[in-house]
């Protein structure tokens, strides 16, 4: 298993990370990638930036645990998690997750699974800040439902 897990206090280029991942692991056959970008509005209110508070050490450990669980659970050969922390401005990427496998189903499921867990189980605390907004975001019941999809398997 090849894993690259990065917590990044500064901006990154998901297209470049994807290109590098494809070059290294594409020949396995199947690569699925997800990129999350900060939206310019949330619940109708303009957003200037997210602030992702983090706990140095524990945050990295929590993300690595999610990577390890995905590697254990799905028939994948390589994975990548790049997650921003600190201030992430609207339009900037906040998370990139990829998996490579021989058959495509495993790559799809692994990325889907890692995203669901990152939402609720990575040691990060997300604040949305905009001209009329300044609030700490907590996982929604939808996020909890997403997570439950994986518990009966």
């Amino acid at each position: 298993m090849e894993m690259e897990v990065r917590l990044l206090p500064a901006g990154f280029d998901p297209a470049a990370v994807h290109g590098d991942f494809l070059a290294r692991f594409g020949t396995l056959g199947a690569v699925t990638a997800f990129t999350g970008v900060v939206r310019e509005a949330a619940k109708g209110a303009a957003v200037d930036y997210l602030y992702l508070d983090w706990y140095p050490g524990m945050t990295e450990t929590s993300i690595q645990a999610i990577a390890d669980a995905a590697a254990e659970r799905f028939d994948i050969r390589a994975l990548s998690i790049h997650h921003r922390c600190g201030e992430v401005r609207a339009g900037e990427p906040v998370v990139f997750v990829a998996a490579a496998s021989v058959h495509r189903r495993a790559a799809f499921e692994a990325v889907d699974y890692m995203m669901d867990r990152l939402k609720s189980e990575a040691a990060l605390w997300k604040r949305e800040v905009g001209p009329q907004t300044d609030r700490w975001v907590e996982p929604t019941t939808g996020d909890a439902d997403d997570l439950k999809r994986w518990s009966d398997k």
Partner: protein, 76 residues
């Protein structure tokens, strides 16, 4: 001495991110520390870790422990 860290909403509402505290000679448990810091307000969404491991049960604290209080995680 123990190190106490605060993250997310909790850091915001306390107005601080860090605190160093000497353990009293009679000792101090995690729940007792929580009560002392948060005035017994019993926020059900308050989470805790000791030495970077999330814990939900009470336990005695030791010199050099790193304790943290925070709200629920939200990443992605």
């Amino acid at each position: 001495m123990i190190d106490i860290l605060f993250f997310g909403r909790v850091a915001d509402s306390l107005g601080k991110r860090r605190l160093a505290m000497a353990l009293p000679p009679e000792g101090l448990s995690l729940f007792a520390l929580r009560l002392r810091l948060f005035d017994g307000e019993g926020d059900g969404r308050l989470r805790m870790s000791v030495n970077q491991v999330v814990v939900t049960d009470d336990r005695p604290l030791h010199d050099g422990d790193e304790v943290a209080f925070f709200s629920v995680f939200s990443g992605g």
